[in-house]
């Protein structure tokens, strides 16, 4: 199963919103993946087996080295943006 991690600074709040809306975007695309939420400090363990990291441009430097593909989301509530970027990354 594909693993997608949503990352925010504190691990509560914004990453939860990103997780919920990523799941909605995946459902719209007809794709299945496990989506989890985590904070920047735990990204090394939380995203160790992840294929994709979803986050804000502001947090990319905090994520550091990773084998996962990092997708930057501008508007966390825009399901079109999420679906387009996920579809491009997964195709």
């Amino acid at each position: 199963m594909m693993h997608i991690v949503a990352i925010c600074g504190a691990g509560v709040g914004t990453s939860g919103i990103l997780k919920v809306n990523a799941e909605r975007a995946l459902a719209r695309l007809g794709l299945e993946a496990t989506v989890t939420a985590s904070d920047a400090a735990s990204v090394m363990t939380a995203a160790a087996d992840a294929q994709i990291i979803l986050t804000s441009s502001e947090l990319v430097p905090a994520i550091g080295k990773t084998y996962a593909e990092i997708i930057v989301i501008n508007n966390y509530f825009d399901l079109d943006e999420l679906a387009d970027k996920l579809e491009e990354a997964l195709s």
Partner: protein
């Protein structure tokens, strides 16, 4: 699952903030007046942004100010602050901000239903401008689908 109760005391409409720190502090004050947090929570929300940047500006015009659970979170809840004049947080796409939602949670698990409900509300792109223009606390609760205080 509706949002937690949103008392009038946790809503501050068309407030004045000189900069993003002021705006976050207003959200912290509203959380404190609503009985959700103690005074130090404002500083912790500001520290999150100082450490990680303006990522809390998650959509155009909207900041979701928050910090980790801690002893200064008395009850989980949200507060809503709208700004008469928008302020810049330093986000590359979503500035300036005229709606600040303060979020406080007592544990990392229980926030999930609250943020899922916030996602439902704001997936409607009209919700942020509607909140920014809301003239009364009652209208804010209507937009968010949040009950008044018990």
């Amino acid at each position: 699952m509706p949002l937690p109760p949103l008392p009038d005391d946790a809503i501050n409409l068309h407030a004045s903030a000189g900069d993003w720190r002021d705006a976050v502090r207003l959200a912290g004050n509203a959380l404190e007046r609503g009985g959700f947090t103690a005074e130090s929570y404002s500083d912790r929300m500001i520290e999150v942004i100082e450490e990680f940047g303006a990522y809390v500006v998650i959509a155009p015009g909207l900041a979701l100010a928050h910090a980790r659970p801690g002893p200064d979170v008395l009850n989980s809840g949200i507060a809503v602050v709208t700004l008469a004049e928008p302020v810049v947080f330093g986000h590359p796409h979503n500035d300036p901000v005229n709606v600040v939602i303060g979020l406080a949670v007592t544990g990392t698990e229980e926030h999930v239903t609250t943020v899922a409900e916030l996602a439902n509300v704001f997936n409607d792109a009209g919700s942020i401008p509607a909140l920014a223009d809301a003239p009364t606390a009652e209208r804010v609760r209507d937009i968010l689908g949040a009950p008044a205080a018990e």
